[in-house]
């Protein structure tokens, strides 16, 4: 990770946090911070992506603005996070494009794709497009199956590769090694942290909008997250039906692909609407305002993908099906094409950071003597040092994190 203003800002904030530590009960960031005394660029990238933006530490901070220390971790981390997205993106210049004009780019891409599809159809046979098609293979009368498969799989493979490169870049930069990726328990822990979003508010909820606690954000994210994967599963099941059994779409209303797609689409729609509502009505101080564009772009693209899919379901036996199909495919393709450069990558880096965290918590039984990359400071266990005598004794601790009866903690 290169040195930037946002990075320096996060470093300064964390140095103060590390002297304070009042927030250590909120999330994974603080225990991870306490393992370090100095923060390398890679460390900061790791911590920024470990942050779930719950805002707990902002509202709890006695040094939050307008205090002269002006500590605002969720904002500092959000600003650093987008820079890390750019840093690790593959190929890198694409990311910059999206940061500037996220919303415009996503929608233009989607519409352009839809337009190309429509144009191709019109050239082919205009009456097909406006005709009413029902029964197996109806969609393919409008967009040939082979075109769909080709477009879909090329896009998907490209995205997978680009995201994988991003992950590898992050992993290397934050001091990770390939060998660590095979350790089962940390992997399971990280997976569970991803699936439950444990750190997005923990058991208490987070400060979604102000200093009251709520679990709304986590619930909306769950709707979105599981909705997204349900849609993904829907496509997967449909592909299997087609390939294995030769059953062609459209499927019945109560078939597995349609059920998964419907629930998934509704989940995404509800999740994005809820997230957008929280974003627009919440306290703006702990947010990075200049990132609003990118974030809204991603939410909008997701929402439009879902809504266009639901619309297609509603219109599939009418003459508008052709256009609806083209538009939906346009959005889906755009969502995927832009995935490695949109906010979607937060999932990859956050998951990677959670894995890094799980690994740190549970050091390998016999640490292999591998050279630590220059980016990562060897962690000094100052916590252990400070807490050495802590367990029973509370009169003679060394460090500040063992407050003591005679002390002014």
């Amino acid at each position: 990770m290169r040195t930037t203003e946002a990075l320096e800002d996060a470093r300064r904030a964390l140095e103060i946090c590390n002297a304070c530590r009042y927030c250590e009960g909120f999330c994974a960031v603080f225990p991870a911070m306490e393992k370090r005394r100095a923060f390398s660029n890679g460390d900061l990238s790791y911590l920024a992506n470990l942050c779930h933006n719950c805002r707990g530490c902002y509202h709890a901070c006695q040094y939050a603005p307008p205090h002269e220390f002006g500590i605002n971790l969720p904002k500092s981390f959000a600003e650093l996070r987008v820079e890390t997205y750019e840093e690790y993106a593959w190929p890198r210049p694409m990311a910059r494009l999206l940061r500037r004009n996220g919303l415009v780019v996503s929608i233009v891409t989607a519409l352009a794709l839809a337009g190309v599809l429509l144009g191709a159809m019109l050239l082919q046979a205009p009456d097909l497009l406006y005709g009413t098609h029902t029964g197996p293979g109806a969609f393919y009368a409008v967009v040939p199956h082979s075109v769909m498969v080709a477009l879909g799989s090329v896009t998907f493979l490209f995205v997978l590769f680009a995201l994988g490169m991003g992950f590898a870049n992050f992993w290397r930069d934050t001091g990770g090694r390939a060998a660590e990726l095979t350790r089962g328990r940390p992997l399971r822990q990280a997976l569970s942290d991803v699936l439950t979003l444990r750190h997005l508010g923990g058991q208490h909820g987070c400060n979604d909008r102000d200093e009251t606690f709520s679990t709304a954000r986590r619930r909306f994210h769950h709707a979105l997250f599981y909705g997204f994967f349900a849609c993904f599963a829907s496509t997967g099941v449909a592909t299997l039906y087609h390939v294995l059994f030769g059953w062609e779409a459209p499927y019945g209303l109560f078939s597995l692909p349609v059920l998964l797609g419907t629930f998934g689409g509704l989940g995404i729609a509800v999740g994005t609407a809820g997230m957008l509502w929280l974003k627009l009505t919440g306290d703006q101080v702990p947010t990075a305002k200049r990132l609003m564009g990118t974030e809204v772009a991603f939410l909008a693209l997701l929402a439009l993908t879902a809504v266009s899919g639901l619309l297609l379901l509603a219109l599939r036996s009418t003459g508008a099906m052709g256009i609806a199909l083209a538009v939906h495919l346009g959005f889906v393709l755009s969502l995927f094409l832009l995935m490695p450069y949109s906010k979607f990558v937060h999932g990859v880096y956050r998951a990677a950071a959670l894995l890094r965290y799980a690994l740190e918590r549970e050091p390998a039984p016999t640490p292999a003597p591998v050279a630590v990359p220059a980016a990562a400071e060897p962690p000094i266990d100052i916590v252990r040092l400070a807490r050495a005598r802590s367990a029973e004794e509370n009169t003679q601790p060394l460090g500040r994190s063992t407050p003591n009866p005679a002390a002014g903690d």
Partner: protein, 465 residues
Amino acid sequence: MADLTKTYDVLVIGGGNAALCAAISARRAGASVLVLEHAPREFRGGNSRHTRNLRAMHTAPTSVLTEAYREDEYWEDLLRVTGGNTDETLARMTIRATAEVLPWMEECGVRFQPSLSGTLSLSRTNAFFLGGGKALVNAYYVTAERLGVDVLYDSEVTALELADGVVRSATVTCRGFPATVRAKAVVASSGGFQANIGWLKRYWGEAADNFIIRGTPYAKGRILDSLLAQGVQQAGDPTQCHAVAIDARSPKFDGGIVTRLDCVPFSIVVNRNAQRFYDEGEDFWPKRYAIWGRLVAQQPGQIAYSIIDSKAVELFMPSVFPPVKAGSIEELAGKLTLDPAALERTVNEYNAAVRSGTFDTTTLDDCRTDGITPPKTHWARPIDIAPFYAYPLRPGITFTYLGVKIDERARVLMQDGRPAKNLFAAGEIMAGNILGRGYLAGFGMAIGTVFGRIAGKEAATYAYH
């Protein structure tokens, strides 16, 4: 909406932990309540903003406290730190009441860190607020507002008019405008006077100009002053304050926990003349850090410098500002504007006096000096490996001990020993009754919570009859 022309049942002066506990308790008892907080909303909460835990008695493990911490042990701890400067009846009453406060606090929205046995050594005696004191204060404000307590920020109560043991009115400056507020009962929970430099000067002279106030700048002690001037009995020694040595570069107010320095036992500390003045290694730092505020306050210019070499730099908790760094003692002296020759002499004498031993930060080890005054009795190692580092120190004032005398119903006592009728006190303004000297972590919050609740309830009861 808050309405200054209305006669509230209970007026709560201040906006910290004790004030909010009083406001919530009074409101729950059915009273209409107005809270007047001097600070703007962003800085509300007084010194409670900087606290972190509450010391609670318990006879069995709870979700946030391990093992047991019984009344007698708690009392002994208090007796030890105060050197007997306490009131046993009030103290034991407070201690016993802490056994029930945690569920009440949770009900008011306060969240605790789960007990992490083995990590936080105080998880046996002290319950840690999730996110610290400001999170606690936020929770109380949310609860108070939900219950219908009226709160005004930027509203300083400058005086109370007291006649025949009855508060008649309160003089207020509300967002810059003067006002007079009436209420049937009043809870004074406006803290000590440590942020009033002029007042500190009465006891410390011009030196007080060089003190740094660790907590809120709004603890001016106006109400305390107003009450003491109108025949209220005082508690606690007016000349005493809790002072520790903190980083001299800290903000004048509100620097809080991060300005603390833990490097002293691994360093030598010199004054403006580059002379050592006290045994830096006398005992473990937590046992000594509270005397260093006074030690530095007694040095010329109220400044001192803790000097270490590269061996020691990672032995203590990081603090807010990086140390001053130099390749040689001479260069370091230059950066600190000390006399280089004098500092080199002091360091050389010290280095020559160090007797080698087995350095061990976890015990009172045998690394000490021989033949210099003052000696350094533990953790003494030569300061000889560049780079060298220095942290400048100044006295940091945590709180003052002076307060008003109260009885076990939180009623303020007049000089004739009789309680004022409608005036109650809670928090730092009366803590001197119980904590007359020293400090016990989390005990200030214990007193504030216990007496805040009592004061609120008593005030509401009074307002009703």
